[in-house]
């Protein structure tokens, strides 16, 4: 399995997408270095929370979309190529090959996500702020968990759907996941059958906004919401289990 992951990493590191995201990371760095002030509702937002909070939000969204770009064709390409049968002959079951590819996707996306943070890290070094080292590390950890959650969800789709449908659904899932709290309040406010059904489906979407909140809270040392923490981690735990079972089921059907 490790060999497949390594191979997957090598292949992806050569890809143009990796360079594109490195460039995007540099753009973020330049924006941060030029000390661009973000304005919120026409008022200059200058507090640490506002400036870093907005950056975390943008970076999480970009990195999640990077996860989509990287993962969307991986399984389908593997199915079409000759490696699948070759590895099978060498004793690596197909489900383990898929799990290796999913793990590879997670690692590559996490590296991308860290590259995207270059600007933020430089800003922390130059400008500093009201943060602690442990807070920053915890913030980065939850940022990577956000990306892991998005990429894992994306990988589930790649097992079931063809790449084009898959890409559309994934982008939709990331958009909805980033606004899940707002949408839950909107549909919850509608009530009725539509509100109840939509609310249920929204609960299945990755809680990217809640993960984002945890990232910002840990980063700024203002964490207090244990319920959200446990719910988010449980979602990720369940998603990991579902990914494993779905991989087994899909490969059994393919065989």
């Amino acid at each position: 399995m490790k060999a497949v992951i390594k191979l997957h990493l090598k292949e992806n590191i050569k890809k143009n997408s990796f360079i594109i995201f490195a460039v995007l990371g540099s753009i973020v760095t330049l924006v941060v270095l030029s000390q661009m002030q973000f304005t919120v509702n026409g008022v200059q937002a200058t507090s640490d929370y506002a400036i870093y909070g907005i950056q975390w939000r943008i970076l999480s969204l970009m990195a999640s979309l990077a996860g989509v770009a990287l993962s969307m064709n991986v399984i389908s390409n593997h199915k079409e190529g000759s490696k699948r049968e070759l590895l099978k002959l060498h004793g690596l079951p197909v489900y383990k090959q898929y799990l290796s590819l999913i793990s590879g996707n997670l690692i590559v996306t996490s590296i991308m996500a860290l590259i995207l943070c270059t600007g933020l890290f430089i800003q922390i070094l130059i400008k500093g702020g009201n943060m602690t080292v442990s807070g920053i590390l915890a913030g980065v950890f939850f940022y990577l968990l956000t990306i892991t959650c998005a990429t894992l969800f994306v990988s589930l789709f790649t097992l079931i759907f063809p790449p084009v449908v898959d890409a559309l659904l994934e982008i939709l899932a990331i958009a909805l996941g980033s606004l899940r709290g707002t949408l839950q309040l909107i549909v919850g406010n509608m009530g009725g059958l539509f509100g109840t059904v939509t609310s249920f489906f929204l609960k299945l979407i990755p809680p990217l906004d809640a993960f984002g909140q945890l990232t910002r809270d840990f980063f700024m040392d203002s964490f207090s919401d244990y319920r959200t923490l446990f719910s988010c981690l449980f979602y990720l735990w369940a998603l990991t289990g579902i990914s494993y079972f779905l991989t087994r089921v899909v490969t059994r059907n393919e065989d």
Partner: protein, 290 residues
């Protein structure tokens, strides 16, 4: 096998965590904010006869609700089938229906730029806003929300007006004049711009004019006064008054009536007592400004 056991163990730990943090009362953050709001309420006289602490607060967690009534917390089934911040009339008096702080935070912090302090302040001001609607209910004044058809018709007209460039221009001219009225007591310019907008409305709405103006005035009075209370509380929390400023961006939707109503309240504040019995006088904020 070892990995599967570790996986199951982690799941068990997380489930325990969820169980231990499940809502069996109002959560600590929300409770602190409710108590801060009540404390503030005791120190301030925001409106004659208005006291937030007079009304029970129902905090809705989706499947379960907790009533905060004068320090006591009672568990109950949600009495509204929707998630909302609102005031609700009940047999034994109006009740303020709210959501926990975490839900408000997730819903409003779309750009991730709001700190916990910002969300706390927003939550407290929302409590005051909704409790003011409860006060309006008590005074016998409430928007006619039961009549869904009338509201739908109003929203349809509003949609047309919001997309009419000439109307937008007239609205902004009146807005500018109102800010000038507030800052320089220049009433005549406002009266002129108000009349201009009314003439245009009569021209394009025809038979619907009276209906529209009545709905507009109702919203200004109900939501504008509640927004005025909200802004006053925000000023206390932030420690500084926010002076009204003119913006040349036309606000679409009903939010414009909140802001305009609030601005009219600020102008009225410069004159004689105008708050007493406002909700029983059958007068609009515009009538009082004339």
């Amino acid at each position: 096998m070892k990995i599967k056991l570790i996986y199951l163990f982690i799941g068990l730990l997380l489930l325990t965590g969820i169980f231990l943090t499940k809502a069996d009362s109002i959560d600590k953050d929300t409770l602190t904010l409710i108590e801060r709001a009540r404390e503030l309420d005791q120190k301030q006289d925001l409106w004659p006869g208005y006291r937030l602490s007079k009304y029970p607060l129902d905090v809705n967690y989706g499947n379960i609700e907790f009533r905060y009534d004068d320090g006591k917390i009672i568990k109950q089934k949600p009495t509204l089938e929707v998630l909302a911040f609102t005031a609700y009339p009940q047999e034994d008096g109006p009740v303020v229906k709210v959501l926990p702080k975490s839900m408000l935070g997730q819903a409003v912090n779309i750009m991730g730029d709001l700190s916990h302090e910002d969300i706390d302040d927003q939550y407290i001001t929302t409590l005051f806003h909704e409790a003011f609607h409860a006060f309006q209910f008590e005074k016998g004044y409430a928007l006619n929300i039961e009549n869904e058809n009338a509201y739908e018709e109003f929203i349809n007209i509003l949609y047309l007006l919001d997309n009419d460039e000439q109307y937008q221009k007239l609205w902004l001219e009146e807005e500018k004049a109102l800010v000038d009225y507030y800052k320089n007591n220049n009433k005549n310019t406002w009266l002129k711009s108000y009349q201009n907008r009314l003439c245009y409305l009569k021209e394009i709405l025809g038979e619907d004019f009276d209906f529209y103006i009545q709905m507009e005035n109702e919203r200004e009075l109900t939501e504008g006064t509640a927004k005025y209370i909200e802004d006053k509380v925000m000023a206390i929390l932030k420690g500084k008054e926010n002076e009204p400023v003119y913006s040349d961006l036309y606000p679409k939707g009903v939010i414009k009536f909140y802001n305009r109503g609030s601005l009219k309240c600020l102008i009225l504040d410069k004159g004689d007592d105008w708050k007493d019995d406002l909700f029983t006088k059958e007068k609009t904020l515009t009538d009082l400004l004339h």
